[in-house]
């Protein structure tokens, strides 16, 4: 990771609160292009809120994998994935694709689905898929979106570790920068190069992954 | 929710209250004589004519007289059959309907003009129809509007003449489209605007509306005058003598026949009222049967 690469996300003294309860406070975080960052910490530590702040920093550069898959259950997998590029096509084309999908778009979406192991589900209704499949559709939508910064909130939580690793590798190959909230320590250490740990709304650890091991991270998870 | 239970009891109490007041009203020594009339033309004219009749009758009969407006021909007949009104200004056909439903009721007076009443067929200028002496068969395939369904001059008689002119056919088969305007004033407006090419209208309402300047002679004109038939009449229930004393029916007839005030007669389009009996309307029963409107 070249140190001089440009800063994509800069948060300075960021704070957030919900209904009077402070969730994040005095938080400084800079993510540079090309970094692969894992956000870790107990549930309730503020990861999802931080993900939201990051996404809001540069929405036009971000492809998002939200925590809940956020699929439109009544539409097909194709349409859900295609939604990743709605903003880059003419509305007329989008409306037409709802009724009669264009061949080129089908092919493009099919390629994406191949990469996440959902080759056979192109026309299945999203609501009829299993939880793990839905999560991969959500990932596929972000892949199809293709914007340089991938922000994911537990994007592989419903998958086994091997599958998860494969999906994260796909994301890494596809997007220049990754910012992922993860809870699987081994996966985080293997697939990212920087670990940021949150506790009670503050960053308590920010270090290169290669300097860390599971033992070093375990205190932040015990009693969770 | 206790409120609802209370609400239910409340409502029940109210019904008994309403029925109770109704019963009380009947116990009064002289209940008002209530009358109505078929709503055959513009309502403002109805209110004017019947308001004057109510005042006049009250003075002559010495009992309170009230007019109750209705929205349709059958509503007038219903009010008569269920006893809400004792007297009504009916058309020829509604009178027949009412008297068949209420045994003992009598036609007591008609307008002098009602003995020989007429229907006008009127046509829009754009229809190309010309006035004729004989029934204008050229109206076939045009659009046609009757008045109210139970109107004598706006439905029963014209339908009868149409069936005679086109044997074996009903109006739906004769015309391109058949409508029921609801009343004679509306029939004139619809034909005048061209919405319908031809219409059947009460000749007295035509005359009244013409006098009132509501008819544009360039847009609509009479193309045929029907043979005459008996029409409007005052019909009274048979039980009024019981309620208001023996001889009341005769007294009422006398009062109606004795109307001389043009202010009362004019809104009716009648010169005076003359005595009449049920028998005068027998021909309409036959016509009603032959058109299928009566059993």
């Amino acid at each position: 990771m070249p140190a001089e690469s440009r800063a994509e996300i800069v948060l300075e003294n960021a704070a957030a609160s919900y209904g009077g309860r402070t969730v994040l406070s005095g938080l400084d975080l800079t993510v540079r292009a090309g970094e692969r960052v894992a956000l870790m910490g107990r549930s309730g530590a503020g990861k999802s809120t931080l993900i939201g702040l990051i996404q809001a920093q540069a929405p036009e550069k971000v492809a998002l994998v939200p925590q809940a898959a956020a699929l439109v259950r009544t539409l097909s997998v194709f349409h859900n994935v295609y939604m990743g590029q709605l903003d880059r096509r003419s509305t007329l084309h989008n409306l037409r694709n709802l009724v009669r999908p264009a061949k080129a778009d089908i092919a493009a979406v099919q390629r994406i689905l191949d990469r996440v192991g959902l080759a056979d589900t192109l026309w299945a209704k999203a609501g009829e898929l299993s939880g793990g499949q839905q999560q991969r559709v959500s990932v596929a939508r972000a892949l199809y979106n293709g914007r340089p910064i991938l922000v994911g909130d537990e994007p592989v939580s419903a998958l086994d570790r091997q599958q998860g690793a494969r999906i994260l590798a796909e994301l890494a190959q596809n997007h220049e920068t990754l910012i992922l909230a993860l809870h699987d320590v081994a996966l985080a250490l293997a697939q990212t190069d920087r670990i940021v740990v949150l506790e009670a709304g503050r960053i308590v650890l920010d270090a290169p992954a290669q300097n860390l091991d599971p033992a070093r991270l375990s205190p932040y998870y015990e009693a969770a | 929710m206790p409120g609802l239970g209370r609400l239910g009891r409340f409502a029940l109490g109210l019904v008994s209250l309403a029925l109770g007041t109704a019963a009380q009203a009947q116990e009064k020594p002289v209940p008002p004589l209530v009358f109505t009339g078929i709503p055959d033309q513009d309502e403002s004219r109805l209110v004017e004519r019947f308001g004057k009749v109510a005042t006049y009758l009250e003075g002559k009969l010495g009992v309170p007289v009230r007019y109750i407006p209705v929205k349709s021909y059958p509503a007038a007949v219903t009010a008569f059959t269920n006893g809400q009104v004792q007297l009504a200004w009916f058309g020829g056909f509604t009178g027949v309907q009412a008297r068949r439903a209420v045994p003992g009721s009598q036609a007591i007076a008609q307008g002098a003009e009602d003995a020989a009443f007429k229907t006008y067929l009127i046509a829009h200028a754009g229809s190309g129809l010309e006035p004729t002496k004989d029934f204008p068969k050229a109206i076939a395939e045009k659009t046609f509007t009757f008045g109210a369904r139970a109107s004598t001059s706006g439905r029963l008689m014209p339908e009868y003449f149409i069936r005679q002119a086109f044997p074996g056919k009903n109006p739906d088969q004769v015309f391109a489209r058949v409508g029921f305007s609801g009343d004679h004033s509306r029939t004139i407006q619809l034909v005048q605007s061209g919405a319908f090419a031809v219409g059947a209208v009460d000749y007295s309402v035509w005359d009244l509306d013409t006098k009132a300047g509501k008819v544009d002679p360039k847009a609509v004109s009479v193309i045929w005058e029907s043979p005459t038939f008996p029409d409007y009449q005052w019909t009274v229930r048979g039980d009024v003598d019981l309620t208001y004393g023996a001889g009341f029916t005769e007294k009422l007839k006398g009062a109606l026949v004795g109307v001389t005030d043009p202010a009362i007669l004019e809104p009716f389009g009648r010169s005076k009222f003359i005595p009449v009996t049920n028998a005068a309307y027998e021909p309409l029963v036959e016509v009603g049967r032959s058109t299928g409107l009566l059993d």
């Binding site: 903003d87 | 109210l14 209530v34 369904r149 059993d295």
Partner: protein, 507 residues
């Protein structure tokens, strides 16, 4: 059992309905038979813009409210009593279905035969169908309620006590909401009863429209909108007893009294008995042959064509409602209308849905002449207003993802697909209501079932009228059953369908 037989999906059902509506359009009579509809419309709008308030008959406003309060009070009270045995008794369910399948105007036409043009007629015409509707809805509310409390009651607790202690407290809030909503409907029904002669605002509206006194009509309409628009201010839990106490004092004075017992006896014993059966020997096969030859032409010449026309009108109106709602609902949704547009959109939809469809149809028929077109317009406007309003509320409750698209893309890819099940639930529910109204529009001259009822009443053939009204009720019940079946098969039968339901929650 996920692999059960294939069910029709949302798309299939939508296509069937749209195709049926298109087929209906091919055979429907859509003529405009007046020549200057735009000129009349302009005069009407001018009247609305320059209302003549002094011409409004003040008492008609009072009577409108009094009929509504008493009719709904009586209907809701009986509805509550009927709701308790509703789930257990098939007889009561059938009776309630019959009560609500007959439109309040048909009830009024029948009641007038016995009670005359009186407060009793007005009150009962509202109370009878509302009792049927309230019984059903209250029973559903009771059924959906949490049963936890009832399970811990001591064994042997009486039905009524169990209901009062463990059920009613659970359901009272929703019942109150629904009853207050019914009162709003009651105001509309009360107004419409004026069109056939009861002294409510509809009486004067009808006269004003018929004679083209649009300034008076405009004033009456604006007063009515104000009445509905301010209902939340004066229809509240604590004002209901006051309204109920004041309403009987504010009823119109009786003008003449129908001889009720005599009329009732004649009505039941003679008028509605089929002509061939009156005074006939019922044991004679001859009598029944005559009954059949009496009934057959009614079936073939009136019920059959009337039913077909009613179904066609309802079908086209339903499709038009669907399209209208899809176009209109973004007006009231935050993401589409924005902070300025949304309140305006709401006002528009509230006005549209506050207008009784019968009155809308009456006005459209005056403007366009008697064909299906004005009836379709009236039904579609009113119902699209309601469905759009409800959809707007759901649209605001959708939890969109943070990077959701905007504008038409959001509409087409997120909002509509997410709400589509709910949308179909609303439409299928309104199908029956639209059908009921379609039948009644016959009174105004469209050749649906009500057209033949009107003719029968004009000819004083009440026996025929009652057969036709019963046929109308049967068609309504059948469509209701079909709608339920479809909703079940689409698995949208548990979604909310009522206007009074609680606002949807996010999640």
């Amino acid at each position: 059992m996920q692999l059960a037989r294939p069910r029709p999906g949302y798309a299939a059902v939508s296509r069937w309905f749209l195709a049926a509506a298109l087929a209906g359009l091919l055979v429907a009579d859509l003529h405009v038979t007046t020549l200057h509809p735009w000129a009349d419309l302009a005069r009407l709008l001018d009247g609305l813009a320059r209302p003549d308030f002094p011409s409004v008959e003040g008492w008609s406003v009072v009577y409108t409210v009094a009929f509504a309060v008493l009719g709904v009070g009586l209907g809701a009270g009986s509805g509550l009593l009927l709701a308790i045995p509703f789930a257990r008794s098939r007889t009561i369910r059938l009776a309630c279905a019959g009560l609500r399948a007959v439109h309040e105007l048909f009830w009024a036409l029948l009641l007038m035969q016995v009670f005359g043009l009186s407060a009793t007629t007005g009150m009962l015409a509202i109370a009878l169908p509302y009792a049927g509707i309230c019984a059903k809805v209250y029973a559903e509310i009771i059924e959906e309620a949490d049963l936890a409390a009832i399970r811990v009651l001591p064994v042997g607790t009486g039905t009524v006590s169990a209901f009062l202690y463990a059920r009613l407290p659970e359901v009272a809030g929703r019942m109150r909401d629904y009853t207050l909503y019914r009162l709003e409907c009651g105001l509309r029904s009360s107004l419409v009863l004026g069109f056939i002669g009861l002294p409510t605002m509809g009486f004067y509206l009808e006269s004003a429209f018929r004679q083209g006194r649009y300034a008076e009509a405009g004033a009456l309409l604006l007063v009515f909108y104000a009445l509905i628009g301010t209902r939340r201010l004066w229809i509240r839990g604590w004002t209901v007893p006051l309204l109920l106490a004041a309403a009987p004092l504010a009823l119109p004075p009786a003008i003449g009294n129908a001889a009720i017992s005599a009329s009732l006896a004649r009505f039941l014993g003679h008028d509605i008995v089929p002509t061939p059966l009156r005074g006939a020997a019922l044991a004679e096969p001859e009598t029944w042959a005559r009954l059949w030859s009496w009934l057959r032409p009614i079936l073939t010449d009136q019920i059959l064509p009337g039913t077909i026309q009613t179904l066609i009108l309802a079908q086209i109106a339903l499709a038009a409602t669907a399209l209208g709602a899809l176009v209109l609902f973004p007006l009231t949704a935050k993401r589409f209308a924005g902070p300025l547009g949304r309140p305006l959109g709401r006002v528009l939809l509230v006005v549209v849905r506050s207008t009784p469809e019968y009155m809308l149809a009456y006005v459209c028929l005056q403007l366009l002449g008697p064909s299906m077109l004005p009836a379709i317009l009236a039904l579609a406007l009113h119902n699209a207003g309601i469905v759009a309003y409800l959809m707007g509320r759901h649209a605001d409750a959708i939890p969109y993802r943070a990077d959701a698209p905007r504008g038409l893309n959001l509409y087409a890819y997120e909002t509509v697909p997410r709400l589509y099940g709910q949308f179909l639930a609303y439409l299928l529910y309104r199908w029956e209501l639209i059908l009921r109204e379609s039948a009644i529009f016959g009174i105004l001259g469209v050749t649906t079932l009500g057209f033949y009822v009107d003719a029968a009443i004009s000819e004083l053939r009440l026996d025929v009228a009652v057969v036709l009204i019963a046929a109308t009720a049967l068609v309504t019940v059948a469509v209701d059953a079909l709608s339920r079946g479809l909703r079940r098969s689409l698995r949208i039968d548990t979604l909310p369908t009522r206007l009074s339901g609680p606002a949807p929650v996010a999640g």
